[in-house]
Subunit: 488 residues, 4 copies
């Protein structure tokens, strides 16, 4: 898989001082799948911030002395970050912390503003300087700018949101308040819950709430701002969507937003953890359903169904259930391969794919196999996996993909390969089938995506090219493409 999302966010609010760093630590463990490049936690103890963040996994960045060195406090904001390619840039670690005229603020962000370059250029024209290359700093700037002329931090957040277009799920901490906000189209998930001790927890996915013993209260609504302060939770529904500026009763606004929702459908297909419930729909169930639909749409005459670990397993089970073809385990994935794995060089004739993935020969030998995976990007990896199966004696390999073909870029935080590299942009399905060496190939039908998301609003722009916001004019983007480089 070469599709990635940007981040996971996490926040804690407690009336009494408690181990908010510890809760964040376990919360980040549950969100680690959303980003493995860097992570960080900022604790608020009596209005002072204590932070630790660095490049690396949660397990690498937070050693026992580091975690024990963080004080008890009443609030925390935390973040895991996915980073593109080799630009392992320490300065882009989050949460970012800023000092401004009325105090300080820590901010964690998941998503991508589609008008980030425009907003940043406007700030720069006014003399602003930027330490990072991420749009999170732009968000912080706009909130700060509004803060100066606002009575409260939440008012500043609400005002700033009028400028933002695109995807953002935010957790913000000031000296006294914890705030979370989700963009009006709800591109990225965000939810909150409470522990039996009365501690409020905000997270990108519900799996992180459960990990720390918190019960899911509900998803944050699109366009909603929640303020945790003085033991209370206050909801503000931002009202600046044009469609809503008439006499719509306040009580109807929530519903209106829900209808307009554009949750990234790839959260269900790949990003989120199967045990999360997003906007009321189980991710695991959604994936099993995708497999069932695949079996209906692209049946195969085969002996066994296997999933590509780990992302294809749920859909494979669904395919098996619907088709009646036996579900089998066809691969062993090496679970010790991580960020620091050194790929074989040309000095040595070792196939990197074989180290990561081993076929169970006796399972696939002489069998007609249905192989289910979540997506095809360039086709190279899938081609090697199909070859592994054939080398192990599979008679036929029928590939089924639980998403439609990728055809368009995403401006909301999903890092899809460039169009040049997307195999589906340049080839017909028979051609792709040929490229990957499969006997047949079936993609999930784009028109049935609603069945995976509970029928609610979702964004499928990467498959359809129909974008829910204006898309950015990319002139000027290049300036950011070659940012301050960090040696090592």
């Amino acid at each position: 898989m070469s599709i990635h999302e940007e981040c996971g966010v996490f926040g804690v609010y407690s009336e009494k001082e408690t181990d908010v760093a510890g809760l964040s630590y376990y919360g980040l463990y549950a969100l680690q799948h959303r980003g493995q490049e860097s992570c960080g936690i900022v604790v608020n103890k009596e209005g002072l911030f204590y932070s630790h963040k660095d490049l690396g996994l949660v397990s690498e960045v937070f050693s026992e002395p580091v975690l024990e060195g963080m004080p008890q406090g009443t609030m925390a904001v935390a973040h895991v970050r996915y980073g593109t390619t080799g630009a392992t840039n320490r300065s882009n670690t989050q949460p970012i912390e800023v000092n401004h005229q009325k105090g300080k603020m820590a901010l964690a962000h998941n998503g991508n503003l589609s008008n980030a370059y425009k907003l940043r250029s406007e700030l720069e024209m006014q003399g602003a300087i930027f330490h990072t290359t991420s749009d999170t700093e732009t968000i912080a700037y706009y909130i700060t700018r509004e803060r100066i002329r606002s009575a409260s931090i939440e008012e500043a957040v609400e005002k700033a949101m009028k400028y933002f277009e695109g995807a953002y799920s935010l957790v913000i901490m000031s000296a006294q308040k914890l705030i979370c906000a989700r963009d009006p189209l709800g591109f990225r998930p965000l939810c909150y819950g409470r522990t039996s001790d009365g501690v409020y927890v905000v997270a990108s996915e519900s799996c992180a709430l459960r990990a720390v013993g918190a019960k899911l209260i509900r998803d944050v609504n699109p366009g909603e701002i929640l303020v945790f302060y003085d033991g209370q939770v206050k909801s503000i529904q931002s009202t600046h969507i044009e469609a809503l500026n008439d006499d719509t009763a306040m009580s109807n606004i929530h519903e209106k937003y829900k209808e307009n929702k554009k949750l990234c459908v790839f959260e269900y297909i790949y990003f989120a953890r199967p045990d999360s419930i997003i906007d009321g729909v189980s991710v695991h169930a959604s994936r099993v359903r995708a497999g069932e639909i695949l079996a209906e749409e692209h049946p195969a005459d085969a002996d066994i169904v296997i999933g590509a670990p780990d992302s294809g397993l749920d859909a494979a089970l669904g395919f098996s259930g619907q088709s009646g073809i036996a579900y089998r385990m066809g691969f062993i994935k090496n679970k010790y391969i991580g960020r620091t794995f050194i790929s074989p060089t040309k000095k040595i004739r070792v196939d990197g794919v074989k180290i990561k993935l081993a076929v169970l020969d006796e399972v696939v030998r002489d069998k007609r196999v249905v192989l289910v995976d979540d997506s095809i990007v360039r086709g190279t990896t899938m081609g090697r996996v199909v070859k592994l199966l054939r080398d192990a004696g599979a008679k036929e390999v029928h590939v089924r993909i639980s998403s439609p073909p990728f055809l368009h870029p995403c401006y909301y935080g999903t890092d899809i390969d460039s169009e040049n590299n997307l195999v589906a942009c340049h080839h017909t399905i028979p051609e792709i089938c040929d490229i990957i060496g499969a006997d047949s190939l079936g993609y999930f039908p784009v028109e049935r995506l609603g069945e995976l998301t509970g029928g609610k609003g979702y964004c499928d722009a990467c498959f359809t090219g129909v974008y829910p916001t204006d898309i950015p004019d990319d002139s000027g983007k290049d300036r950011f493409e070659q940012p301050l480089k960090q040696s090592r």
Copy 2:
């Protein structure tokens, strides 16, 4: 699981200099499941040894500069080690390297000598000093002692083996030769193969051969010594089993050894990687078969079958296939939890099991569940897992275990909890069922273990108490129990 094995061994022999360190690195990745405490590689370049070993996973110990800093060579020996409890003792890392009168030797060992204390005491009476607390050093001593009065290293190994009782799969490297040896009862696996470039590879499991592109030639026979030297492989069958010292033709000895074989049955049940083939039997197939037998012996009236990840998944699939009850994924295991995970302290009310393992509520809710796992040790963990299922709404939980109950200590390298802690030593099956909160409980029948191992000889002493060798007199053992402690 609190059952552990000691180690994995790996060796490379090439006529021409090549990247033997790189091959070892990928080989160790494939063997990492056999030991996560420490690892090491020793390279032989023109008779000189270059080594690197330390505490940590392969990914931690071998960074890119370290691996690139190791020279090309003609041979290498490598090791991953499992360490008991907190005694993360750097001095016990392997391969051990020794200088002796006729040169030097590097040695990697998997297994446990049942007469280790006796052998060590004899050496100590002669003034020997020991730097480590492991029996590997004792093995090195005996080989060295024989080396002085032997014409070759292989002769020394053969002579030394007469003293050893118990389990040992060895890879030994001298200035000129690579040697591997497996104990006469074949307690631990050992096999070898060859790459298309003609490089010989020795490994604890065949999965490591495949990882580096080597084809399995065969398992090393019980009591066999293989010598890789001068581009040749020479086999020596040690002949000192008493039953064989008559006029048995040399050609029959191999067969005799195979009949006497006592391979640890737990290699099939839990230790080995599912894609390995040990003594001709697929580990994965063996586990699926265990599930089928469980379904025959302990059927359950249930709606779904789930496996405890990852070790119960294969058997769960077998149980489902045999019983016709639907196979489902019930758990998400957090794959980022590793050695450095900091367990929740009492400062914070977080359940460690929930962070490691999340239930898929909608899968188990209102269902009668068969839960398959490989073993029960103390019962505590299983109790918590059953509770997770019930909290998620499971109506009934029927636990099925793919091994018989643990009742006896192992002297051959498996680290089973002390008898005091083994729940099966002190409770009947209904009592255990009660302790873990299950509706029913079924263990694998000890008399059918042969069906998992291809009928060949195996050791089941931990279940039966019938030991294939003399068991050690433990007097004097305490001296080693409190060894040199390493702060940190």
Copy 3:
């Protein structure tokens, strides 16, 4: 010594690509005495920046792989930083790098703006956000703001300098130019030179030029901006000192500035390395001269003169030469004590001073000793050192201090202890003599400081309270006193 200065700066400009990172590395080694908390290097290769910076000494931050990983380039800017107390804050490491509307900039700063809070507040009122707590970020902001409406970076620097009051020696790098600037009063040193290969080097002290084989060309003049670009060096003399805005001929401005110069006299007394030449005066010679003057002003009837290592040695030699009393080595300083030295706790009865400093008993026994040091802050350390001498058998101890008593805070980058702790603020000389246990005590006479600085303009505000600029109104300062804290 509890007196510290803030930093050292370094810059390289070469027409051809060369190992500018290596030159910076050796330059920072020579400037390490100016700051041991953190350091950093930013390399410019074809307009792209490659940086590495972290907490620690040059030897700790720049390992061989890190240094080798930095590319060859045409420019570099580098920095060593001294940090107050325990706030080992990674975000304050320099050079800081910023992205702005017209490109990017790296900036290294030595000194302290006396109107920093005022400038920062003005920016914050306009919505600016700050990532660090240092005034270097404020400097960067002002330059950036001017950059937008300026034709060149040097023009922006010149305009921005009109807002800055206080001390700043800057090295600034843009995509194409290297720029250095010294404040109009020349509080902190800055000089430049050239290697035989034609590479230009800028540094806080000339010792760093010599270290990398560059020959000192001259000091940067107060108020001067140097631009290294296109193989040329261009000098701009900023003209905004009010006294100069009349019809003074441009050629006289340099001289005017030199007359107005206010170089920190403590650079000669303590900060700078003895082999540096600052504004034409040898630091070593200045210190020897201080000892001579002390001998004239405060003669002592004694047998030997010893210096407190290392900062009192030069002046002790001068005292000996002038007085004719024999110079001796009285102390051995442990040269391995560094940042990570763990001070004795109450668990153990060990005197920390004795570990750092050992007396040579046979040198001082039964002797009347003159002890020369550069300053007294609280008097505690000096008291312990005098006691060491008495315990070793010294009959008399006459303390001579090569600076006048500290009485006032510094706003230009010298970190003097708070007035509450300065012993000279609360006690007469006889009282201090009593506190430190000396037989006599003599300070350098404030009216003769000009003899140490070549008669040129210098700042002695910390001794006299006469400040060359407005001093800051500290209201609002507290907000910065408790910045974002960094756990670790």
Copy 4:
């Protein structure tokens, strides 16, 4: 300087549990000049050993968590080690810890056995294996072998000492006793003292006693064994020198040993810290005296005397005092250059010597300079230093060396360059003078060495070739010269 000694040893014995690790830590800081490659501490708490050792300086190996993690105890043994060239071999770190038949032992050693290869070969012929390449392991073996047939550890030490030839100052710890021993010729220093709390401390040099607040009781006599046990100190004078096996009264033996003493004269000239008192003679005074004798023997017509820092400073002061030529500081040594300093490569034209050592131009310009240093090995470094002086404008440079010329190898622990590289082996004094570019050159006269050592017995074999023991037959040595190499 390319002359090095092997190590420093340290031991603590207390009746009550105390922070023996902390005392060792500060003791090692004071001995760090004797070895910078690796260090270690082993604590004895209730008979169990807790150890930490690694490559690096004391400040690097013992971080605060590591030191705090070591328990309080009643005894400790500690070590700093100098390592030859690049063989930074972790397995050679000391103290070494061994398990043997009667318990365990930790051992720290300074010196070198001249019959090490012979002893080791004998052990190897009996089947012994060696993990390290140091003779310390051989010493441990012999003590262990004797321990088996001895009633006590001290008896075993005494018996083993009969086999050892050459230099050894040992600190040995068993479960119950702390033992120290010095070889019969007293090649290396060793002394002991006591703190006001009654804690006994053993150290290579008295500076380490003072550092931890202990008062020097006396040097350990040549051939003496001290046993700290049960609150007592017991002295055993080993009696196996052949000259003493007649009817000499026990009371005369000490004196006899003292007469025979062969303390390494280079301890006074270079190795030891100036504030140490060795066998009753102040190291600092000895060095000053060397300078005085040089001035008598090799006067110079010059303006100033300067010392090469740090090792030439004391002798320079002596030369100045005797000759009446003014003492000056001519060099600034960069005190931040350490183990991790990266030497300039050919990519960059920077002179490494200039980074380490800076001349004070105005001190030496137009002066006739006497430069005093402790030794010349290859002449290369001295040549560069003389050139630095000339480049700075010195009119004449007269080199005076406070030791005689090195001509012979040392078998007792001093690592002198190979004879091929020793400039004095191949050149006359006028030739060397020419090679280093000096105007004149004078070495310390070998016949007056006794004036530096209080007239007592000393070893000057490296100057004279007259060895106090048999010298080793080096056949077989090569085997050890290319030991197990450690990558990184």
